[in-house]
């Protein structure tokens, strides 16, 4: 066996090793690719879930803003009810009226008290009665707290 034959055998072995290594590498790469594809899908799903979460948070923020707005509107209406009552007292001297016409004033005060007590019931969650449900004006329903009787009323009416 000459030196040339030995070198050729070595080269042939190297070639075989390179080809075997290549096959191993490609098959290994395919497996890795499959894993990476799976990982990619998992990450895409994760991103999708994150996006859904962001959308949900945006909707939550809008909901919070809406609820805050509604509450502020309700507070505003209720504050106007108190201001209206206060201005009623300022417009008329109820002490003088009571001195001049005690019976009339007694009726007015008792009616106002009845309305005010009904307002307390409504404020604590009592359902509206038929008269209050069907009332078209705040006067028909309850002069003391139109904002509680029907939220669409404006006390300034």
């Amino acid at each position: 066996m000459g030196i040339g034959t030995i070198v050729k055998s070595i080269v042939a072995l190297i070639f075989l090793a390179v080809i075997a290594g290549g096959i191993y590498y490609i098959s290994n790469m395919q497996a890795s690719l499959a894993v990476l594809e799976m990982n990619n899908k998992q990450l895409e799903d994760g991103i999708k879930k994150q996006q859904e979460l962001i959308e949900q948070q945006k909707a939550d923020i809008q909901d919070v803003q809406k609820k805050n707005g509604e509450l502020a509107q309700q507070n505003d209406k209720q504050r106007k009810d108190v201001e209206n009552l206060s201005s009623k007292f300022h417009k008329k001297d109820i002490g003088q009226l009571a001195t001049e016409k005690p019976e009339l004033m007694e009726r007015l005060v008792n009616r106002g008290t009845e309305n005010a007590l009904r307002c307390l019931e409504l404020a604590s969650g009592a359902p509206l009665n038929e008269k209050e449900k069907n009332a078209k004006t705040p006067t028909e329903a309850n002069r003391e707290c139109p904002a509680l009787i029907n939220p669409s009323y404006s006390s300034s009416n």
Binding site: V11, I14, V18, L36, N75, G95, N110, L120, E121
Partner: protein, 127 residues
Amino acid sequence: MNARHLLILLTLPLISGCFSFGFKKPEPIEIKTKAEERVRLNLAEPAPLTGRELKWVLITRENADKVFKELEEKGVDVVLFGLTDQGYEQLALTMAELRNYIATQRSIIIKYKEYYEPKKPEANLTK
């Protein structure tokens, strides 16, 4: 073929990236998410107030005797708890503010409940 060719052949796997000894296979990742809903508070709402009947009696110098006589005739204690007109105004305004406070607190509780415990169509488990 000489030693130069052999060297080229040996370095070929290195530059082609096929030299994968120590190559680490990527591990599959796993994302686990588990959402657990908090137990609902489900506090019962307090029953609404029921206003008790309340009658005011107005007394002036002129009608005082008549009013006290009527009290005697009704068989109740002949005594009245009084307020001046200004006192009455203050009481009426305080009551109105108290009413608004109750209404606002109730609204806040309802809105919290709507936000944190929204109604579900299938959530009606109680019969």
